[in-house]
């Protein structure tokens, strides 16, 4: 974990996020969104959580980004964001950012460096997932099944 890698990943992630939040064309914003999540996955790698980084790439860049692009293509009629900028939203977002920044900088106990750890292997993650977290895992499986069935029912053609 060194500073140069951190700064590079931070600039990439935040620039892509800003582009996703401000580009007028939907497809460009969706691609910047995928780039943002590559950056977040790189942060997970920097922090030593390789498995979560890989899951992030599979789920977001592989699945959610493709879903978003498909939805954009299915709702083709308005592919651009119309209307001027909404200054109220920008002011609220900047105020929230200022509040968070103030709280983070004020808490001196947060200015700590990471302790050295042995790498978190996928085997260990699997062990913990199948012992301590087996009930949450089952609940998430049920939730995903219900969500996918619900999504299918929502987009099914209505009988007239």
């Amino acid at each position: 974990m060194n500073n140069i890698a951190f700064v590079a990943v931070a600039i990439l992630t935040l620039a892509a996020a800003l582009a996703a939040a401000s580009l007028p064309k939907l497809i460009h914003a969706a691609l910047s969104f995928a780039m943002t999540f590559v950056g977040v996955a790189a942060f997970f790698f920097l922090l030593g959580a390789e498995f979560v980084g890989l899951v992030q790439v599979f789920v977001y860049v592989g699945a959610v980004a493709v879903l978003i692009v498909f939805t954009i293509l299915l709702t083709r009629r308005d592919v651009e964001d119309t209307g001027g900028p909404n200054w109220g939203g920008a002011i609220i977002a900047i105020a929230v950012f200022g509040g968070l920044l103030w709280a983070i900088l004020k808490a001196q106990t947060l200015a700590i460096a990471a302790l050295p750890i042995e790498p978190l292997t996928v085997k260990r993650v699997g062990d913990v997932l199948m012992t301590d977290y087996v009930w949450p895992l089952q609940c998430v499986g049920l939730l995903l099944t219900a969500a996918l069935i619900g999504a299918l029912i929502l987009v099914m053609e209505e009988k007239r």
Binding site: L47, N86, A111, A113, I117, G150
Partner: protein, 104 residues
């Protein structure tokens, strides 16, 4: 010299604020979903950072919470995009300003 926890928290606060900006200032429903996903990613980044900088990083609690949170975010994205398609079928628009039938 390695980055401290504060730097990671500042990055994730920035990501959260950009997501909030996208949710509040965009009028297209898909953009609003993208903003929500960004806010969720910022929360995940916080979970992983707090796990890595905690005094006991050997128990992977933060990693587990992040994995479950990613799964739930994926379910949310699927249902949200299905809703966008269903709304588009009825109203022929995805602009949230025009979806005002329930307005009093």
């Amino acid at each position: 010299m390695t980055p401290t926890l504060q730097l990671f928290l500042i990055v994730s606060a920035t990501l959260f604020s950009i997501g909030l900006l996208a949710v509040l200032s965009r009028r297209h429903a898909i953009f609003i979903l993208i903003g929500i996903e960004m806010m969720l990613a910022a929360a995940n980044l916080n979970f992983i950072a707090f796990w890595r900088f905690s005094p006991h990083p050997q128990s992977p609690t933060g990693v587990m919470v992040a994995i479950f949170s990613i799964a739930i975010a994926a379910a949310e994205a699927a249902v949200g995009l299905a809703l966008v398609i269903a709304v588009y079928r009825h109203y022929r628009t995805t602009n949230v300003d025009q979806l005002d039938q329930l307005k009093g």
